[in-house]
């Protein structure tokens, strides 16, 4: 089944929050909606979930209309599960009761008791909660709570799983571990996953496609590789792949760097960037040397990150970011050359 969003607009009072969103989410697709806070990503998720009626536009799952100008299917009648940033667990229920809860609804009245029991056992087992089944949420750690929340969302086998920044409340290491869990869930259930996040590394790591949003409009939609290597706007270039934007002039498929005798090749730079005379260079595409053929720059700061060292450099009036391998040590104040390697 695929989910169709057609001409979705949302206004809060006179403030436009979403402006004409059109999107088809393919069957079993893992779509990440990525953007800074206030870009409208959570609003879009709430519209899909039915927590919010769009000002105009249509949401439909294949032929079933969920929201349009005349129809507003209530949340409970939509075929979905949801995971929240705050976990949204109920303090008075045990882990098992949480997982059983969705199957007690009228929607699942048709399931035979054995099927329900098997589904509960499966969901608890899949999320590794067997030993914790009789605990209350207050007795669980953050990661365990989010597992309960995931088990609750998948137990009724919904066609769509909505995830609203599910990893934001967890600490750094746990975040990375939970990514794999969510990918496993996606493989096992085959559900559409719509995953809202402001963390580009999460989106790049897990999603089949990424929807980058800003100011309530779609900036770019594509696979993680496309978004990362071929950003179509200045915003995507800087927000997702942390590109340095070089100024210069485009002559055919050659980019002449302003004020320098260097020419960079066209690696598939998007038209909107070309039009503005910009060339995006990702931090790892510059190589720092003392005397290579490159832009003159001065090191201003160094941060050691283990496998990489992050340098801040000034190049003319611009501030650039360069990621170097851990052996390549330079000192603040040194004059260096930035060699572009495509």
């Amino acid at each position: 089944m695929s989910l169709h969003l057609e001409h979705i607009k949302q206004k809060f009072g006179s403030t436009p929050v979403l402006n004409d969103i059109n999107l088809v989410i393919r069957p079993s697709e893992f779509l990440a909606i990525l953007g800074p806070s206030g870009c409208g990503k959570t609003t879009l998720l709430r519209i899909i979930g039915g927590f919010l009626k769009p000002t105009s536009g249509t949401v439909r799952l294949d032929g079933t209309v969920y929201s349009d100008s005349s129809v507003m299917v209530p949340i409970e009648n939509r075929d979905l599960g949801m995971v929240f940033q705050s976990f949204a667990l109920w303090p008075h229920m045990t882990v098992r009761e949480h997982v059983e809860f969705p199957l007690k609804s009228r929607k699942k009245a048709g399931w035979p008791a054995e099927k329900k029991e098997a589904a509960v056992a499966q969901a608890i087992h899949d999320m590794g909660l067997d030993a914790l089944a009789d605990r209350y949420p207050g007795e669980l750690s953050g990661g365990q709570r989010q597992r309960v929340s995931l088990a609750r969302a998948i137990v009724s086998k919904p066609s769509i799983l909505l995830m609203d920044e599910p990893l934001s409340a967890l600490d750094a290491e746990l975040k990375i571990n939970m990514r794999k869990e969510i990918q496993d869930i996606h493989r096992r259930t085959g559900a559409i996953i719509i995953y809202v996040t402001h963390d580009q590394s999460e989106a790049l790591a897990m999603a089949d496609r990424i929807l980058v949003m800003r100011y309530g409009v779609i900036e770019q939609l594509g696979t993680p590789e496309e978004i990362y290597t071929h950003p179509e706007s200045e915003f995507v270039a800087t927000f997702v792949s942390k590109c340095n934007l070089l100024h210069g002039t485009w002559q055919g498929s050659d980019f002449h760097v302003a004020g320098h005798p260097f020419v960079y090749p066209d690696t598939g730079i998007a038209y909107p960037l070309k039009e503005k005379g910009l060339y995006p260079v990702r931090p790892e595409q510059f190589h720092i040397t003392y005397d290579g053929p490159g832009l003159e720059a001065t090191i201003t700061n160094r941060q050691f990150h283990g496998r990489e060292i992050h340098y801040a450099v000034t190049c003319g009036k611009e501030e650039f970011q360069v990621f170097a391998r851990s052996g390549e040590v330079f000192f603040p104040g040194e004059s260096v050359r930035l060699v572009f390697t495509a």
Binding site: G49, A88, P91, H92, P102, S105, R106
Partner: protein, 575 residues
Amino acid sequence: MLSSKIQRPIVRLVFYSLLCFVFVAPVLRLCVMSFHGAEGYSLANFITLFHDQRTWEAIKNTLIISIASTIMAAFVGSFLAFVSAYTNIRHKKLLELLVLMPFIIPSYIVTLSWSGLLLKQGHINTFVTSLGLAPLDLYSLTGIWVVLGFINIPVVYLSVVHMLRKIPAEMEWASRACGFTIWQTIWRIDLREVWPAIASGSLLAFLAAIDNFSVPAFLGISSGIPVLSTYIYEKAISFGPDAFPMAAALSVLLSCIAIGWTLLESCFVHSRSAMESIKEDFQPRIILNGSRRKILEWGVTGLLSLLNFVPLADMILNAFLKNYGLAVTYSNISLRNFSFVFTNTGVLTAVRNSLILALVTCLVCIVIGTVLAFRQVRCHSLAAAIAEKCAALTYALPGIVLALAMIFQWTEPLPGVRPQLYGTIYILLFAYITRYLILQIKSSKTALNAINPELEDAVRASGGSMLSVWRYVLVLLLMRPVLSGSFLIFGLSLTELTLSSILASAGTKTIGLTIFSFQQAGDYSLSAAMSTVVVLLLLGGYMLAWATSLKKKEKNVYELASRTHKTEIRQHASA
């Protein structure tokens, strides 16, 4: 100068003995007095009481009234809290004001106005009897618990409404995503979450019902319906050698009921580690469509306005008539009642007494309460924490019991010392301060907790002394929240009746007691006129406070609280 090594234990000793002397000793004296008889100490008082049919009747009535009024307050209060917290009705501010009205108007004035409205020959009862029904009689057991239930609605409402707003909306969304409708969600999730708040609100309502003296005094004494609080009053003001011991024994019984109920309830309600958010969420969660919303909106606010304002309006109107219950014609209108109220020396003295008592109580409570709160919040002083528990004890005791305890304590505070306080205004002052101090400690604590201690550290780090911390930071930031807390104390002590009914004497009557005496003497018109003045003053005062609070919206409270401190506030709130 003594060195601080010797000084500190001495200060501590003095402080603790003062605590015992002011808060604990009166209670102990009361207990001792209940065993006191003509032939030394024995259980004789209790045996005599239990042989008296009237005691059993009073216990039975007390239980019936308290339980019935609690059930009423719990249902209505919780329902109104749900409507106010979750639905999308408009004019919620007005609704809240109407619900809290019985907090503003003293309960004896509410009772007075209701009994005036339901006079046997009044409009309502004329109408009811014309339908062939029995007239509504407020001077009955049912009348007492209905009025008490109505008065205690805000107690439950306040406890429930904040909890409801604190339940995160995500918890409901999660349930709806699981396939449940909003009503099923309210039933299965929200009601379970808010249950402890309903229970603790009901407990407070029950204790308030047991404690209440004015309602059964106004409605029950003349119609011969004894409850424990009025029975104690009758015993205490009667003459005879065993008056006080008997009253003390009854007080012990009443306190036992209060403590017993509290224990019973704590067995049933377990506090679980709540996961509510610290911030209240005011977004409506149940969206009613136009016509349903209007019906609810008009139904609830309309009914509450009727219940609140019609009796009051009726009372005010009657105060302008020559006699209570006369037809409103030009010839019947007179200002006689008011001219009496404004010229009678007894009334004027009472007003002066109440004003002085309220003011001094407020000032003393602000100073002592804020210092104790500061010691507790900032210095984690054990002594201050114990002081709070002691002050809570004298507030938890029924007022009539505390009044008796005050007499026993202050007629001879130390062996051989007889300061002759009984009969003067000082015993009233002591009683008010002992009773209301806890309210100021609580509100000062809340105010202090909302202030980031780093603000004070910053003054010290910039070279300021402790004096400048108070002068430039604390006094300015605490002023508003602390004053709003003491405003409550001012209102309570200005219109106080229970304590003064026992402690006041000829020259030290209070406003509440004057209205009570008029009513007991059958002078409804005078009591109505005096109540009118009090109501207008109170409403005026609250309007003024409300208007100033609207002007300065509190924006800075949350910004001032640091992260670590918020968790502390939270723990404090859940404790």
